[in-house]
């Protein structure tokens, strides 16, 4: 009975406070005046360690609706809806409308929304797209660093990378996790062919070694290939890394638009690609055309275990292994050329979370993201649905509840051995990607030579840069 009275009194007190600060609080930083509300919340949820300022704003009384968009599969959907529900329970005045779907067309839709000013308050964004969205004199996203968002759980070295959301000292996005390229191996096939081919993926190896092994694998059994990859993944994973190893940098200088690679260096890059195809290290372009983008696991030959391995993003490892669950898997070392300037391989995030600068409820949106990234209950619900969490606390929780995939963890530790450089806006833009993919495809079909492809690439890249009007 006593407890009930206290609870009733507390509830009444809370209502009064909400009414008191409701009218003027939502858009302003309410500072310390809401401390008592904060405490009440903490009592309500013993596990919650909500951040300071953002959470305060969210507890103000006025009814607020936020739109939150993301892409992803069903597992991610359920977990994210779970976190939304938890947050809404803690903040009854905030209603979050989820807008979710597949990754197909997501970026296009978001770009259109941003152009029209109808974007959601909170957005999940592909880091590759983010660089296009921050070009020019646009200012779509809130600088979370300036707003005092609690980043204490993140490694500063990690979040300060541009690909992880830090643009010119402004944190425009929060990395949802740690992903990166991986060489996913079908361990059964590796063991079976080890003596015959003589490969060893636990030791350092070069691109030439890899090409030689690929040739031998296909000669040994012509239904087998060493690597499953399509033109998109060759561009997204191999070409950029090869270029970094060769020159120590990305394709272009983003400040000046200057090309970093000479025709000879481009020729060398494309010769590597040509060797992949000519030696049957990867399946023919014509075959892989039906399995483009990151849909590698839909290839029936992958499902049938006809590949020794595949270069993929480690956020896709779960999909890839689920497609052929009978096999055992591991993450191999990654190729580095002799005399490489840098290793090039590095971890980055698979998605960013950003808040629209035009949102009418920026504080509430930040409060939600604070809960999303910093609250233990949210971390437990989310698990690894957006890859290995980027916060130390998130990783600890995932380890404790046993959702961290050992192969994913292995691939993350493989990445730690290499040094790398920052990607740049120009080299990772969609137009540049397309230019390179077209050339890779043409080489795969044998309709162009590395020399011709190199010349054409340089001229197309120069055209692209000149269309941007960089001074």
């Amino acid at each position: 009975m006593k407890k009930r009275v206290i609870a009733a009194l507390m509830a009444a007190g809370m209502m009064l406070m909400m009414a008191g600060c409701g009218s003027d609080a939502p858009k302003t930083d309410s500072g310390t005046s809401d401390d008592s509300v904060e405490k009440t919340e903490e009592e309500a949820d013993a596990g919650a360690e909500s951040g300071e300022a953002p959470a305060d704003a969210a507890s103000s009384g006025e009814q607020v609706t936020l739109r939150f968009s993301w892409w992803g599969g069903d597992e991610r959907l359920q977990a994210t809806l779970g976190v939304i529900e938890q947050f809404e329970e803690l903040h009854p005045n905030v209603k979050i409308e989820p807008e979710y779907g597949g990754s197909d067309g997501y970026a296009d839709k978001l770009a259109t929304q941003l152009a029209a000013g109808t974007e959601p308050d909170i957005m999940q964004i592909d880091p590759a797209y983010m660089s296009s969205l921050t070009m020019g004199d646009t200012d779509y996203f809130v600088d979370l660093l300036a707003d005092g968002f609690d980043f204490s759980q993140f490694d500063e070295n990690y979040i300060s990378m541009r690909v992880n959301g830090r643009y010119d000292g402004r944190q425009l996005g929060i990395p949802t996790g740690m992903s990166g390229p991986a060489l996913l191996l079908n361990q059964d096939l590796v063991d079976q062919l080890k003596d015959e081919i003589g490969f060893d993926f636990t030791q350092p190896f070069t691109w030439d070694d890899m090409i030689e092994w690929g040739r031998k694998v296909h000669e040994y059994d012509e239904t087998l290939y060493l690597i499953e990859d399509n033109k998109d993944m060759i561009e997204a994973i191999m070409l950029g890394i090869y270029s970094m190893q060769l020159t120590g940098g990305t394709y272009m200088d983003e400040e000046t638009g200057q090309q970093r690679l000479s025709v000879e260096q481009w020729t060398e890059l494309y010769t590597m690609v040509q060797q992949l195809y000519e030696n049957n290290v990867v399946p023919p372009t014509s075959y892989m055309a039906a399995y483009s983008g990151d849909a590698l696991q839909t290839d029936p030959n992958w499902i049938a275990g006809k590949y020794v391995g595949a270069f993929c993003h480690n956020s896709l490892i779960a999909n890839m292994t689920a497609a052929n669950p009978d096999a055992n898997y591991s993450a191999g070392n990654l190729p580095v050329m002799e005399n490489a300037i840098v290793g090039g391989w590095k971890a980055n995030c698979p998605q960013l979370m950003a808040v629209s600068s035009r949102s009418e409820n920026i504080k509430e949106a930040e409060a939600f993201l604070d809960y999303f990234f910093n609250d233990p209950a949210a971390q437990e619900t989310l698990g690894v649905v957006r890859s290995t969490p980027a916060t130390s606390q998130g990783r600890e929780i995932c380890e404790k509840i046993g959702v961290l995939d050992p192969v994913v963890a292995q691939s993350a530790s493989v990445l730690e051995q290499y040094t790398s450089v920052e990607t740049d806006k120009l080299s990772s833009s969609t137009e540049v990607q397309q230019i390179l993919r077209d050339q890779i495809e043409a080489i795969g079909f044998g309709v162009t030579t590395p020399e011709k492809a190199a010349e054409e690439t340089l001229s197309l890249l120069e055209n692209y840069v000149s269309s941007l009007n960089i001074q």
Binding site: D108, A111, T112, L114, A115, S132, L133, T134, M135, G136, D137, T138, P284, T285, S286, Y287, M288, A289, A290, S292, P300, T430, E431, Q434, D438, E441, A442, F445, V447, N463, S467
Partner: protein, 306 residues
């Protein structure tokens, strides 16, 4: 009838009032027309003379986009070629197929309505994504078509992966959806006066002569109409190229609609994309005008003779 010719003053007011009410009823449609048709139409024309990027500002650059399209952009020349080829493959074949099936169905046999419905079904799906996905799966390396080829001891074909076949395979999807033209032809065939055939019989015409001298002239207005509609549709094709091949391989299915989409929504070059859309529009206008010009030579209208 009495008010005709000499309207009274009060009658005119009544008319005006009625007109105003009519406009009121038309208003929802007019608003839609202005906002959803005229506004995008003219703003895209304006954008096509600017360097408007979704992620940046907008500057007037005159004819630069069009000059770049026609003189510098190799992709555009390729896309133009692919679009023209697509139109040349699909339109004549689709019309021929529709007419042939319509002639076959234009008879009184048992269950003819069911057969007609079955032939029309593919067209019900329209340009839908689902049917494009189905087509993709059927023509995959391990799809049903290749399985049939294997059963017939024929070599497998990479329908989507081989740049020599991808466009033709996409065309076959379009041709397969011949139903709407077929229904029009069927209606037209039913309207051909029987006396004409009887007269031709008396004159001793064979089946082919009857088809050429009676059927074709009689249904030529419908052929003309479907020809125009199908040509416009073919020049605007996008769905199948986007869903099945994404313009590849080697840009062999990179139709203008696909290029327009990529420039606008993948690279955010809205100004440039707008200029592509206006080129497509100009092409459609020119082709339609040419068809209309040619129509006096081959389209036969019964009332013209009167």
């Amino acid at each position: 009838m009495k008010t005709n010719g000499k309207k009274t003053g009060s009658g005119r007011i009544a008319y005006r009032k009625r007109d105003r009410v009519a406009y009121l009823y038309l208003l929802p449609w007019l608003i839609g027309l202005v906002m959803l048709q005229f506004f995008p139409f003219f703003s895209s024309l304006y954008y096509s003379f600017t360097d408007y990027k979704v992620t940046g500002g907008m500057n007037w650059i005159g004819l630069d986009n069009y000059i770049r399209l026609f003189t510098k952009d190799a992709d555009f020349h390729n896309s133009l070629k692919v679009t023209v080829l697509y139109t040349l493959y699909t339109v004549p074949l689709k019309l021929t197929m529709a007419l042939a099936i319509a002639m076959f169905l234009n008879r009184d046999i048992k269950g003819i309505n069911l057969i007609r419905t079955l032939y029309y079904i593919p067209s019900l799906f329209g340009g839908s994504v689902a049917i494009a996905v189905l087509w993709k799966l059927m023509f995959l390396d391990n799809g049903v078509i290749n399985a049939m080829l294997t059963a017939l001891h024929l070599p497998n074909i990479q329908f989507w992966g081989d740049h020599r076949y991808a466009l033709k395979t996409i065309c076959s999807l379009e041709i397969w959806q011949f139903g709407s033209s077929m229904v029009m032809f069927l209606a037209a065939l039913k309207n051909v006066p029987k006396e004409l055939y009887e007269a031709a019989d008396i004159d001793g015409s064979g089946k082919i002569a009857k088809f050429i001298h009676v059927t074709l002239p009689q249904i030529s207005p419908i052929i003309f109409f479907t020809l125009i509609m199908q040509t416009i549709q073919a020049l605007q094709n996008f769905t199948s190229a986007f869903v099945i091949t994404n313009g590849g391989p080697l840009k062999s299915t990179y139709v203008l609609g696909m290029m327009l989409y990529k420039e606008g929504f993948a690279y955010f070059n809205m100004g440039y994309a707008s200029s592509i859309s206006w080129v497509i529009f100009a092409m459609i206008v020119v082709v339609t005008l040419l068809l209309f010009r040619s129509s006096s030579a081959w389209v036969f209208y019964e009332d013209e003779e009167k």
